[in-house]
Symmetry: none
């Protein structure tokens, strides 16, 4: 069976063209070197050296084999190296889920900063809703997610990365757009555009951004009359722009379609909505650790209050 040893020995001899000297650099005696080379040639069924007692030179096959042997050794070294660096979270892959509304600011900053610090980590980004992210975290399809609370899952750890107010999104030219502030009660009789109001699955109930919107409406004394449904923030705002209804959005979404959508403050509303990073409590991955470190670094600068780790509840 051919081993890396044979490659090492062969390369040493091929480079010096001298068994004794090669043996010396390898730190072994000459006879075993001769034996190993012979064994290698036997295994290959190929003569690698033309040798007399006073001259050693590579055969044609030897020349070909030298190149490949060097490459193999290099690759083996790289394998070892990568494994070590992977243990430090410096190479690898991280699959990240994120809600569609949130790419614009904090997340972009995190991704950017992480890329600079860890250029050898492959980042795969997916735009998916909060309840889907919870599922994918459990299946391992994503390792972190940027989600909007609330979620209800004790296996998942959350850290707040952003807090922002809610805005009312109205089609440009809508009568309410004349006001500077819109009371929530004024929206009671409007058609709404939201995500699936009850979630697509029963277990999605009460999760994510629109469950917060729902609770704001309830506080205002009504249940929104949902006329259109979409799952991406982008699409929702497109539908608002098309005049199909009104909705509430997080403030960071208000740079979308500014020319066709009017964004107004919500009167008498102090509630802030949050974006959090979510990950499995049980997850123990160096890459993830490094990513979370970056998240905390970035959010420390952005959030006034420190982002406190908080268990999912």
């Amino acid at each position: 069976m051919i081993e890396l040893r044979h490659f090492r020995y062969f390369v040493a001899v091929a480079e010096t063209l001298h068994f004794s000297r090669a043996a010396e650099t390898l730190g072994i005696a000459q006879p075993p070197l001769s034996q190993q080379i012979k064994k290698l040639e036997d295994e290959l069924g190929v003569q690698l050296f033309h040798r007399s007692h006073h001259k050693v030179e590579l055969t044609e096959s030897g020349v070909i084999f030298l190149e490949q042997a060097r490459r193999t050794l290099r690759m083996a070294e790289q394998a070892v190296d990568d494994a070590r660096r992977a243990a430090e979270g410096r190479v690898g892959r991280l699959t990240i889920g994120m809600i569609s509304s949130a790419y614009e600011d904090v997340i972009a900053a995190v991704i950017l900063s992480f890329r600079v610090q860890f250029p050898n980590i492959e980042l795969v980004l997916q735009e998916i809703t909060t309840p889907q992210q919870i599922k994918l975290l459990h299946t391992g399809e994503i390792q972190v997610g940027f989600i909007r609370p609330p979620i209800h899952d004790p296996a998942i750890a959350l850290e707040v990365v952003k807090r922002e107010p809610l805005l009312v999104a109205l089609p440009m030219g809508h009568p309410l757009a004349r006001r500077k502030q819109v009371p929530i009660t004024a929206l009671a009789s409007e058609p709404w555009v939201t995500t699936e109001p009850w979630g697509t699955l029963p277990s999605d109930l009460g999760m994510g951004f629109y469950s917060q919107v729902l609770s704001v409406c309830r506080e205002g004394g009504f249940t929104p009359n949902v006329s259109q449904v979409a799952s991406h923030m982008h699409t929702i705002i497109n539908l608002v722009a098309a005049g199909l209804g009104v909705t509430l959005v997080p403030a960071s979404a208000s740079n979308l379609h500014r020319n066709r959508v009017a964004y107004r403050k919500l009167a008498n509303q102090t509630r802030l909505v949050e974006v959090s990073v979510a990950y499995l409590n049980s997850a123990q991955s160096p890459v993830l650790e490094n990513f979370l470190k970056t998240v905390r670094d970035v959010t420390r600068k952005t959030l006034q209050k420190d982002a406190r780790p908080a268990a999912g509840r």
Copy 2:
């Protein structure tokens, strides 16, 4: 000292995730296998498996190491194989990378013609993305690649083999499909299907076909709203067919899924996208030379203008 044996054993365990069964396939007993794996982990200083008495799974480092170990073993086999072939006088193997969109025409012609001229050279074809090809060229795992510019690498030589226009790919029945030509601006508000919009690695940024698509969109005054991501042209077009979005494709891809995807000209667009052969400037092998000669012969007939050698970037 780490030997190929360790790689073989590790791969066997990683593939079965079962020490006893792996030992069986390796033709050894279980305890020595456990020992060798442990020794490997000690040498690396890295845990490769999470193991309990009833469950074995790879750690993150293990996943990385598996990939590299497989590559190393493949390379070692190739070294042996090449030496033997060389001894029989059947010198030569050429490993070729190619982007998934490009097989259809020029490349097929090149391969065909080369096979006829050099029946003794073994051709190994791999379908991989442009940035990956650049990496594999450097490691020597492929000797030539068919890629889509732009790339940014002074060590790599490029020669254009094909120029073709861009087409808009729309789901059959999409309103825009009624037009004969589609202006790029009409796609601003559509969901897009592309490759990873941010690239998975920072170094991938600005490479390959979709970086050209991106720049076309930018010229049209928008950044595409990417709703779905895939890495093979085939998959991308499948997703378009499924109605998940629109995209731009090189004209040669327009024979895929003609019944479910509508291909339309881009209005006011004169930009041509290119396919090039790429190889290391420093590479000098007779096999590669002959291959490039064939490429030039074939493209001379296809391209109106002569393909001019051009340094990378």
